[in-house]
């Protein structure tokens, strides 16, 4: 327990040496007394600027006050109404860039730990006995809505529409729902049981989940409307297409996209191979290229898969890194090495076609580029080879084009993002809405959740307007 109010209540964490060898969650979560103490730190500003920092405007001040008043049920209700994925956002949101960045406590001391409190309240709520009999609610409206993809935007959109009485079906291409929350974010950051609890909550609201159906292949949008009687469709297909660097050697054995590496480990549970059937090749020395949260997930997963040495290779410097601060700190604690200002130019292999090293060029920072960040400039003649057995590319993803290839009437931007009306999320095709990474390109869970929520409101208004003509 902290002794002074100026200290942020530390999140209890598992010992770094121990946790870096298994997939159990790193953060253990606040205990009740932690939460009460931290909630007391809130200054109760008249103008709660933290709320403005939140993409979905969670009434942060109000829920924290409920915690301080020892009314966890009230706090949970506020969170649930504002953000249906709060137990997840409390774990994965970059709070330091959002709500906590605005916190007035942060001006002199450390900001209130809003994320930790959000997580505490949502976890408490998940642990409470059900107030209903567990039976799924029956929708009371006639207009059915189909949700394409079960990632954050789709789940939130589904939940909101179910609350408004619509029959909702979520179609997922994989064999388990959750999208990037299932295949992308590792157990040590977001345990599957948390996701499963959120999914169960949605089922109780009446949301129906159908796995193993890919819209655009198994079923077309036309079929959803004409044959299956859906009145509207929300597309939340995410940004699932991995980028490669197009450098020599990417076809070598032992080179993975972050998507493949994480999918094998998270969705397919490769850490349990051979008890499960999907393996993943993790060598003694692993290099992960990139500096975002996905890169941190890959590099920390490779330690947990038994790598002796795991490193992040990034062409810019620490300052330009895009990962959450907490993930970066956890990675350092766990022994991850960071090679800043190194640009990979070739993956080296042996005569059998397996990776043996990563050839890099040293970089220095030059004038700012279009993104406003210092442009990395190669230093001539600085090539060197890092000996590694496994290379993982975590350099970003783009929207999956499967659905838009099959539906030319849905317009996309040059880089493949779906074009939507900013207010409603409606695409160029009537009654087809979209949100999340499929629209924005790879972004955060909370932004996707916000888009799903906005689209749900727009879909409901659209459908109700038609049902009750004036």
């Amino acid at each position: 327990m902290p002794v002074k109010r100026i200290d942020k209540t530390a999140m209890p964490e598992r010992n770094a040496k121990q946790r870096a060898r298994d997939f159990s969650e790193v953060n253990e979560g606040y205990r009740y007394e932690h939460a009460l103490f931290e909630a007391e730190r809130c200054l109760r500003c008249q103008d709660p600027v933290c709320v403005e920092g939140c993409p979905v405007r969670v009434p942060i001040d109000k829920f924290i006050h409920r915690v301080a008043a020892r009314d966890l049920a009230g706090a949970a209700q506020i969170l649930r109404d504002a953000n249906p994925l709060s137990s997840i956002c409390g774990r994965v949101c970059p709070q330091e860039m959002q709500c906590e960045k605005n916190c007035h406590m942060g001006a002199r001391y450390r900001p209130v730990a809003i994320g930790h409190l959000e997580r505490f309240v949502s976890d408490w709520a998940q642990g409470q006995p059900l107030t209903t009999n567990g039976q799924a609610k029956k929708p009371w409206r006639a207009e059915k809505v189909a949700i394409v993809g079960s990632g954050p935007s789709g789940l939130v959109c589904a939940g909101e529409l179910a609350r408004l009485g619509h029959p909702v079906t979520v179609f997922e291409a994989l064999h388990a729902p959750g999208g990037v929350l299932r295949y992308g974010i590792p157990e040590f950051r977001l345990p599957n049981r948390i996701l499963d609890a959120e999914l169960d909550g949605l089922r109780r609201l009446g949301v129906e989940f159908v796995n193993n159906v890919i819209i655009g292949k198994t079923l077309t949008l036309d079929q959803l409307f004409d044959e299956m009687g859906y009145s509207a469709v929300f597309i939340g297909t995410g940004a699932g297409l991995p980028k490669f660097m197009n450098i020599p050697g990417e076809g070598l054995n032992g080179v993975y996209s972050a998507n493949e590496f994480l999918t094998r480990i998270n969705l397919m549970q490769a850490s349990s191979f051979p008890h499960v059937d999907t393996p993943v090749e993790v060598g003694k020395r692993v290099a992960v290229i990139g500096s975002g949260n996905t890169a941190m997930d890959c590099v920390r997963s490779s330690l947990r898969m038994g790598a002796e040495e795991a490193m992040v290779v990034y062409r810019r410097s620490e300052k330009e890194m895009s990962a959450r601060v907490e993930e970066y700190h956890h990675a350092i604690e766990e022994g991850v090495k960071f090679l800043w200002l190194n640009n990979p130019v070739e993956v080296m292999g042996d005569d059998k076609g397996w990776v043996t090293g990563l050839k890099c060029m040293k970089m220095e920072l030059g004038a700012p580029d279009d993104s406003g960040r210092a442009r990395p400039v190669p230093i001539k003649g600085s090539e060197f080879v890092i000996p590694v057995d496994t290379v993982v590319l975590a350099i970003g993803t783009t929207p999956n084009p499967l659905l838009t290839r099959a539906n030319k009437d849905i317009r996309t931007t040059k880089w493949g993002g779906l074009m939507v009306d900013e207010g409603t999320g409606e695409t160029s095709r009537r009654r087809v809405y979209a949100g999340g990474d499929a629209v924005t390109g790879a972004a955060t869970v909370i932004l996707a959740a916000g888009a799903g929520k906005r689209a749900a409101t727009a879909i409901h208004e659209d459908l109700v307007k038609e049902a009750q003509p004036v």
Binding site: L174, Y183, I214, K217, Q269, T278, N400
Partner: protein, 280 residues
């Protein structure tokens, strides 16, 4: 869950399954595939759709027992269910029409040519299928394939039936004008080595050659990039850009090598499976 309507042993290690999967059957086109998972904790493996019947709501797959997953699949009997089946995936085969279309099928790969050849025949192409196996007992689906094509040329390595020799040798003879004559295009489905050999036979004659790639896949929807292959110097994903590619452009050496990435683990999985079954 998709139910196995009928199961037929067609060679000692190859089985044909007709599976009730109405949505997939309704949308399937020749050349596409499905991803199948047969147990909790099981792998996702791609299997080519050999045939489909939209009316009956069934898809047909032909599976050769090669590893842990295909072995588990072999244990599913008629009336049994397949845990997960996703499809149809991949781009349909875009085979130019007219003239003489020749299919070359090696081993169980011949099955995958059933609906492709039938479609080519139906639109008016002269069609020939060259199917090969080591010996006559390993030839598969000959009757079905005869119904789907104008001509069928059977090849066996040991000469126990039809032409004695490899499918590529017979293909060479056709190109020289023998039998049903020179192909205007070739569609080859079978082991990677066979497809590569076919592409080498047709290359000097500039005969367009289509091959169906089956690299290791996880999701089958373009998400993992594990199935990437190099075609004409460019990286392509077999799951969403293929599985059919120009055989003259495919980097087979890389594809063969990547196909073997998990050989060690595949052996371990089979060993564990046997130990487990032995203990029951």
């Amino acid at each position: 869950m998709p139910k196995v309507i009928s199961k037929q042993q067609i060679t000692p290690v190859t089985r044909k399954y007709v599976i009730a999967a109405p949505l997939i059957a309704h949308s399937a086109k020749p050349g596409q595939f499905v991803i199948v998972r047969v147990r909790e904790g099981g792998e996702r493996i791609p299997l080519t759709i050999a045939d489909y019947d939209a009316k009956a709501g069934t898809v047909t797959i032909v599976v050769q027992e090669v590893g842990a997953t295909t072995h588990m699949l072999s244990q599913i009997e008629e009336g049994g269910e397949i845990l997960d089946m996703l499809g149809p995936l991949g781009e349909p085969a875009h085979i130019p029409a007219g003239g003489h279309t020749v299919g070359v099928g090696g081993g169980y790969g011949a099955a995958a040519l059933t609906c492709i050849m039938r479609e080519a025949t139906a639109r008016g192409d002269k069609t020939t299928l060259i199917m090969g196996a080591r010996t006559k007992d390993l030839l598969i689906l000959e009757d079905e394939l005869r119904r789907a094509c104008t001509n069928v040329e059977v090849c066996t390595d040991d000469g126990s039936k039809g032409f004695k020799g490899f499918v590529t040798e017979r293909l060479g003879q056709l190109i020289e004008g023998q039998g049903p004559g020179r192909p205007d295009r070739v569609v080859a489905i079978g082991p990677m080595g066979m497809m590569q050999a076919v592409a080498e036979v047709t290359r000097p004659f500039d005969i367009p050659t289509f091959v169906s790639m089956d690299p290791v896949m996880v999701d089958g929807t373009g998400m993992c990039g594990g199935c990437r292959i190099t075609v004409g110097g460019e990286q392509r994903f077999a799951c969403v850009d293929g599985p059919m590619f120009d055989g003259h452009q495919v980097d087979f050496a890389e594809a063969v090598r990547r196909r073997k990435m998990y050989v060690k683990e595949e052996k371990l999985a089979v060993t564990c499976q046997r130990a487990h079954e032995g203990g029951e």
